[in-house]
């Protein structure tokens, strides 16, 4: 078990900065997810933790010990690249036991640990089968078994579910999290899929151009985004932004858009007149004929239980998630109401969230 501490980590590749001044701590036993689009620096950070890349500057501490310059195999870490990489000529038992054999562990010990691992992954009935005949999910469990059997201090995983069918992926997401709950090893997991991150993580770091934009629990990241980038990255569809010009004073609890007063969580700082954006999540919008703020329905995407309705307003296009049975007509004008306590306000120039009760109450609580 291990705590991973990353201090001012920086990585440059011939003039291009992949990771800048990264600073975070993954607590012992946490499932930590680095989330961002391709090229944001998440894989580079993971490879530095693994010892597969050397940082340009900064330190990596594993349980307090500086491992920055140590080789990969001197760090007690298991790296899962692609869960499918198995030895085709070996059976399940040999595949799982291979890392122990390579370490020179006694045969009886290998046998016991392989069987224990297989039970944990519910593949103990497959131990003597050839891996070539296995279904995708079982192959994946075998590959995981090979990483777990060593009982390393931590697991590093780079988009291990990326190539799987979506149905399988949903299943494996839950299995990975259950596995984590039962072994409790510190895990660093890299993905571009916000839903995977939300389903599995204890803590998420959202990355953008080599910088960590926000670090927090899934709910903090989703419900209280610190920047427009984070707000936009999370959610499908992402947060909507309605532009307006205003100054704000501490204590304000409403804003005005086109004469419509919209209640927001109480503002905690004063802002000189500037271009601002009201951030509202699709699931926090209701179509309400009585509302003052109005827009025109331009389309609807049917999703079965819910639908995503697109509403054009002079402040921008809004997407609302509403029940599928609610009837909407393209071209119709509708009123919009928002769930006040979930709203964010951003400064458009910097993208920064303005301090409001939404952020404050949790900081002090």
């Amino acid at each position: 078990m291990a705590e991973i501490r990353v201090e001012n980590l920086r990585k440059e590749f011939s003039g291009f900065t992949a990771v800048q001044n990264s600073l975070f701590t993954v607590q012992d036993g946490d499932f930590f997810v680095m989330l961002g689009p391709s090229g944001c620096g998440k894989t580079t950070t993971l490879r530095m933790i693994a010892g597969l890349e050397l940082p340009t500057s900064g330190r990596i501490l594993l349980d307090g010990e500086d491992v920055t310059m140590k080789r990969a195999r001197e760090r007690d870490i298991a790296f899962v690249f692609q869960l499918f990489a198995l030895y085709p000529h070996m059976n399940v038992r040999q595949n799982i036991g291979f890392p122990l054999l390579a370490q020179g562990v006694a045969r009886s010990e290998i046998r016991a640990r392989v069987e224990e691992t297989a039970r944990l992954l519910r593949i103990d009935h497959l131990l003597d089968r050839s891996v070539s005949g296995l279904a995708g999910g079982d192959r994946q469990r075998v590959a995981l078994g090979r990483a777990i059997v060593r009982r390393p201090k931590c697991f590093l995983m780079d988009e291990p579910l990326g190539t799987l069918d979506s149905e399988f992926r949903d299943l494996m997401v839950h299995e990975l999290r259950e596995l984590h709950n039962s072994i409790g090893a510190t895990t660093v997991y890299v993905t571009h899929d916000q839903l995977e991150a939300m389903s599995m993580a204890d803590k998420i770091a959202v990355m953008n151009h080599g910088i960590i934009e926000q670090f927090g629990t899934p709910r903090e990241i989703y419900d209280r985004p610190r920047t427009m980038y984070v707000a936009d990255f999370m959610g499908s569809p992402p947060m909507n932004f309605l532009s307006f010009n205003a100054g704000l004073a501490a204590g304000d609890d409403a804003i005005e858009i086109r004469g419509a007063k919209i209640a927001v969580p109480q503002v905690r700082e004063s802002i000189a007149p500037a271009e601002l954006a009201l951030g509202v999540r699709p699931e926090h919008i209701r179509l309400d004929d009585g509302a003052a703020l109005r827009g025109e329905i331009v389309g609807a995407e049917y999703l079965g239980t819910t639908q995503i309705v697109s509403v054009a307003t002079p402040e921008g296009l809004l997407k609302a998630r509403i029940p599928a049975e609610q009837h909407v007509t393209a071209g119709a004008m509708v009123g919009l109401t928002f769930s006040c306590r979930h709203l964010s306000v951003f400064d458009k120039a910097s993208g920064r969230a303005i301090e409001t009760a939404l952020y404050g109450e949790h900081r002090h609580g």
Binding site: G235, S236, G304, H342
Partner: protein, 341 residues
């Protein structure tokens, strides 16, 4: 654009039946999505239409013409693969122009130029026409790959999971783009995927494949609300439909032969227990951001529904659960009472 018809098409590879007696008509201008897991026969269906595989039995017709035994080049189709295959040494412009330069097409330069520019605009890559293909992001490369298919106006576009190699975020944008482009062009398009969201949001009709058989085809709403079997019902919906044994919950009398009750979020009323009677206990609420999943334990069984962001329920709450017009399946998984939608 043209109508494409498969009639009684079968295909075997050795001892495995890849496609079994498939009947499928894709109307002119229609966007059909075939949905199924790996190995269901999705890609084989595309390859049979493209002529990359030859059918063992049955007939393939494109635009009224029997092409069952025609060579790929003689069929008027274009294929977009999962992995974008661009010419790395060529610019975006040259990549887009390439399919038009075949001597067989005899298009003059002005015509080619006009088509390349209008296609580039359609896939929103017109600002990067002079860039080398390798100097693009993944999403841009895939847009060029799709654009290269669109410069030609074939009878049908065949697309094999063209978005699966993209980031989740980009994929969501491209879904909307592709649907918009298809509508603007009035294109006939057959698209295969294992991603139910792609199927739901883009398709005019979804075909559900299982072990090489087309077991249901219909609009997304038909497939979702009127599935012919529990298998089909389980393909669509997040969280997946709850398939519960009869007798688990009070049901107020069900038709004979009912073995399994299929209940999605909209088929269940879950309320905090008021008078001491309870059917289940809230296990936990999974916060996934845009969708929160309510996990309820009913005896040894478990059900999962979508919960509103402001649900009054919390873990440990005892709840009453009632069905609201659920889907009913017999012991073989076939739906009961599934008449006309």
């Amino acid at each position: 654009m043209a109508e494409v018809i498969l009639r009684g098409v079968s295909k075997r590879f050795g001892h495995t039946t890849a496609i079994k007696l498939m009947d499928l008509t894709i109307a002119d201008g229609e966007f059909v999505v075939l949905l199924g897991p790996t190995g269901a026969g999705k890609t084989t269906t595309l390859r049979l239409i493209a002529g990359l595989e030859r059918a063992d039995a049955g007939q393939v017709r494109i635009g009224g013409e029997d092409v069952t035994n025609a060579a790929p080049a003689a069929r008027d189709v274009t294929f977009v693969f999962q992995q974008y295959s661009l010419y790395p040494h060529l610019s975006v412009y040259e990549n887009l122009a390439f399919p038009l330069k075949s001597p067989a097409r005899r298009l003059d330069e002005a015509e080619i130029d006009a088509r390349v520019r209008s296609t580039a605009k359609l896939v929103r890559i017109d600002h990067k026409l002079d860039n080398r293909a390798t100097r693009l992001s993944g999403g841009e490369m895939q847009r060029v790959a799709i654009g290269r298919a669109l410069v030609r106006q074939p009878a049908i576009y065949l697309m094999d999971e063209p978005l699966s190699s993209l980031d989740a975020k980009l994929r969501a944008n491209m879904r909307l783009e592709l649907k918009r482009i298809q509508q603007e062009l009035g294109a006939t398009l057959l698209y295969v995927t294992h991603d139910q969201t792609e199927a739901m949001t883009m398709a005019d009709r979804i075909g559900i494949l299982k072990d090489g058989e087309l077991i249901q085809i219909g609009t997304p709403r038909e497939i979702y609300t009127q599935p012919v079997s529990a298998y089909v019902a389980a393909r669509l919906g997040q969280p997946a439909i709850n398939l519960l044994p009869r007798g688990l919950l009070p049901d107020g009398g069900l038709p004979a032969g009912t073995a399994t009750i299929g209940a999605r979020t909209e088929h269940l009323s879950i309320d905090k227990s008021a008078n001491g009677h309870a059917d289940g206990v809230v296990d936990w609420i999974e916060h996934l951001g845009d969708q929160n999943h309510l996990h309820v334990k009913v005896g040894d069984a478990k059900l999962i529904t979508l919960s509103p962001p402001d649900t009054p329920l919390a873990a440990g709450d005892r709840v009453t659960i009632r069905y609201r017009d659920p889907l009913l399946f017999d012991a073989d998984g076939n739906r009961l009472g599934g008449g006309a939608p």
